[in-house]
Symmetry: C2
């Protein structure tokens, strides 16, 4: 029997260390694995975007563009893949279209092949421009369905979203489950429905985290339903809030009508490489190492809970977490059921804290008002009328229904001028884009860039000695 | 749609801590969870047998019979389940039939309900007597198929074994995967074939470890094929060399045609209980916390590799592990492909070491000679003629084909006399059985028993302080 070959996207170089060790891994700790990754037979190698750009300039004194060029050189046979937050690109606001165009063009020039483009609200208008730019650059545009659970999120809703993304010219779709909420049955149902209604030729990729312990089963079911590519991370950089292990996927398919084309010898070497690297980043490791299934009931991602806890403590109200946890689903419902992912998770969480401490919608955060009024994009369901009125009153602006970026005039020229005034600015468009993404961090980075990368990983023996000596800060991020 | 209810056996009180923390958990650290476990709706609660009996008297100064009675009292609504090594009972040799009868009778009297009976070689003659005794006591007899992979182990072979066990009167069957080798497809195929050929009413339980990361998928497939009950461990005592998390199983089935009858509130409390207990046993925790898939190729369980490594080091040949690892599959083949589980894994491993250090079959261990000559039972395939001849010559005995225990005359009376001579012997049949199981350990235990249980768990702060101070032995078992 001819087996169907399932493509695999390896996440070790981006999402895996972002999820497990706060995106702190230095390029020099990845380079040694690149030859094996390149030859292992992956459909693509995710290695850029997400929080890596920010971490590079904020913590590692690494030029992210140089990192991309290095990957390009070290993995000549591989499709390089990145995660792009639609009109936000890699920053934390909406950018004008000319910045979006420039970013996609420059990243393509520097070696990027596959762009996974998503919007936290699943508003296709927020990904439209970047997808068009990717197509213009002749690269692979992947449209994303952010998976979440709510009374308004249905299989048919995802199919409609998939259709809209295909209509934009996407080369493939990604069902993205950042919170490990995707159970096996909906994984099957959504992939099956997309394949049935949009055609078997519609490429579907599935991205799951492993936090809840069920999602390798979900990948199996997605494959049975026709998924073309699934995302995994090499075992030594897997599990916990990260992803399912690549080697387990390979073994899982043995004997089934499916197979991966992966070279197990190469995988074994990649595993060994990162098994040796991982202990260097213990200080940044997530405290979650096992499985957490609470999110299925609370709908609140673990990271969001710790954020709210620290906000409450700062207000001397550390004992009111339970009230806040009960308030979150109500706020989410009032806001039209946004998926809880960056930035909506923070926005909803902070508003829940405000509601508990100061009275229901007595004070709105600016971000929550923007969310309610449509400035982040179209919400899944209607926003509660009372919330819209409070937002209008407090933010002194009206609700919008147009694409938020339509309000932003072109800004690349201005950003270039601002960047050009900075000490250490190199003159390239890449540097302008670095400044555009992180205007608060880039100036410092441009200054210190000549000193070269700073590896924040630590020899485990040294780290242990510091820990024993009670060195302050060593455990700060645990 | 009427959903099919999948039974669940909770492993927290036996196999989970045996696999994760060398069976060291004290009864007092389990008692607090018993009410919630009892009310959570499990099909059964595994809580005795395996290595717990040995650990109780060797390390914890706990009377294992008292532990059983306590569980019986604390979990009045639950089926209590144990793991029994057939004619070996809980010890490390074959016992005479009268000891087998007495052991089953006394454990039933003390509260045991479900007996999972297995033989490392899958020789049904080695489980026949204990299964008959369980039936006679009016309890649930579960026959076991030890899963392994070899050219001789086929789906039809497992079906035949299942048939033989059903013919012995077993109330249910267990497909037992101690090495996490059971991939999803064979899990489906074996369960399906048993149900098809022996009838849908044949109860099939599936027991998997999680070491390789694929076996929750295998449980899903087994359920699709008709499995009635699956084994899991509460999340805070799960994963690594242990088992799949109970809560993940519950969530996995949401939306499918299957469901568990478990109470999530109760599970959450059990989880919290063991999350608090677990750090007390850090010193005994397995070093494996992630996923290890190497066993699919090497066929050698991790514990066996570390055994062989230490044997080699003792011989000053620590550099020859690679040769030994290559020798293991050859020795296993020559011995008729035994599953590699206690005690066959140790027997094959040590012989591989001998072969490498002293020349192929130049010197046989007594155990390997016994294995080759049939003294452990019938091997799956024929033993190589050269090996049989070497075993005969060195052990000066002939191969046997009868049931090994047929060579052992009744011995309970003699064991009672021996036990009666010991200081601290309490006069009960239970004490005779304790002595029978571990004649080297029981005398010391009887003496110290009046001092009461010794909890070897440690307050994490204290353990950390000792570790910082470099207390010897603190990390000995890591
Ligand atoms: Co992700
Ligand atoms: Co087990």
């Amino acid at each position: 029997m001819e087996k169907r070959v399932i493509g695999v996207t390896e996440l070790a170089l981006r999402d895996a260390h972002q999820s497990l060790m706060a995106t702190r891994m230095a390029l020099e700790d990845m380079q040694g694995a690149c030859a094996d990754i390149d030859a292992a037979g992956f459909w693509s190698v995710e290695c850029w975007g997400g929080a890596t750009f920010d971490a590079c300039i904020r913590f590692l004194n690494e030029d992210p563009w140089e990192r991309l060029r290095t990957f390009r050189k070290l993995m000549p046979q591989s499709r390089l893949q990145m995660l792009l937050r639609g009109q936000n690109l890699l920053g934390y606001r909406h950018y004008a279209d000319d910045v979006v165009d420039a970013f996609v063009e420059k990243s393509a020039e520097n070696g990027m092949d596959v762009y996974r483009v998503f919007d936290a609200l699943n508003d296709v208008r927020n990904v439209q421009r970047s997808i068009a730019a990717v197509k213009r650059a002749g690269k692979h545009a992947q449209g994303t369905l952010c998976y979440t659970v709510s009374p308004l999120h249905t299989v048919q809703g995802y199919v409609q979203l998939a259709r809209d993304l295909v209509d934009l010219g996407c080369d493939s779709l990604c069902l993205k489950d950042m919170a490990a909420l995707l159970r096996p049955q909906p994984a099957y149902d959504i992939v099956k429905a997309i394949k049935t209604e949009l055609g078997q030729q519609t490429r579907v990729h599935v991205h799951c985290h492993s936090t809840t312990g069920v999602t390798l089963v979900s990948l199996m079911k997605a494959i049975e339903a026709g998924a073309d590519v699934v995302d995994t991370a090499i075992s030594s950089l897997s599990l916990g809030p990260g992803h399912n292990p690549t080697e387990s996927l390979v073994e899982m398919l043995e004997g089934t009508p499916y197979t991966t084309a992966l070279d197990k010898e190469r995988l074994s070497r990649v595993k060994d490489h990162f098994a040796a690297v991982r202990p260097r980043y213990t200080a940044f490791m997530s405290a979650i190492t096992g499985v957490e299934t609470e999110i299925f009931d609370s709908q609140i991602p673990g990271g969001m809970i710790s954020n709210m806890e620290s906000q409450l403590r700062q207000q001397g109200a550390g004992d009111r977490l339970k009230e806040v946890l009960a308030e979150v689903p109500r706020v989410r419902e009032d806001a039209g059921y946004p998926p809880l992912v960056t930035p909506s998770s923070q926005i909803v969480g902070t508003q829940a804290v405000f509601n508990v401490l100061m009275g229901k919608y007595r004070v709105l955060t600016g971000e929550f008002a923007d969310l309610a009024l449509g400035y982040y994009g179209r919400n899944t369901g209607p926003v509660k009328q009372e919330v819209v009125l409070a937002a209008q009153a407090q933010a002194r602006k009206d609700p919008i229904t147009l694409r938020p970026a339509d309000l932003i005039p072109n800004e690349f020229a201005r950003l270039r001028d601002e960047a050009a005034a900075l000490e250490g600015f190199g003159g390239s468009e890449e540097d302008v884009l670095t400044y555009a993404m992180f205007p608060g961090v880039a100036p410092g980075f441009f200054k210190t860039r000549p000193e070269g990368p700073k590896n924040v990983g630590k020899d485990p023996t040294q780290a242990e000695a510091e820990r024993k000596a009670g060195a302050p800060g060593a455990d700060a991020l645990r």
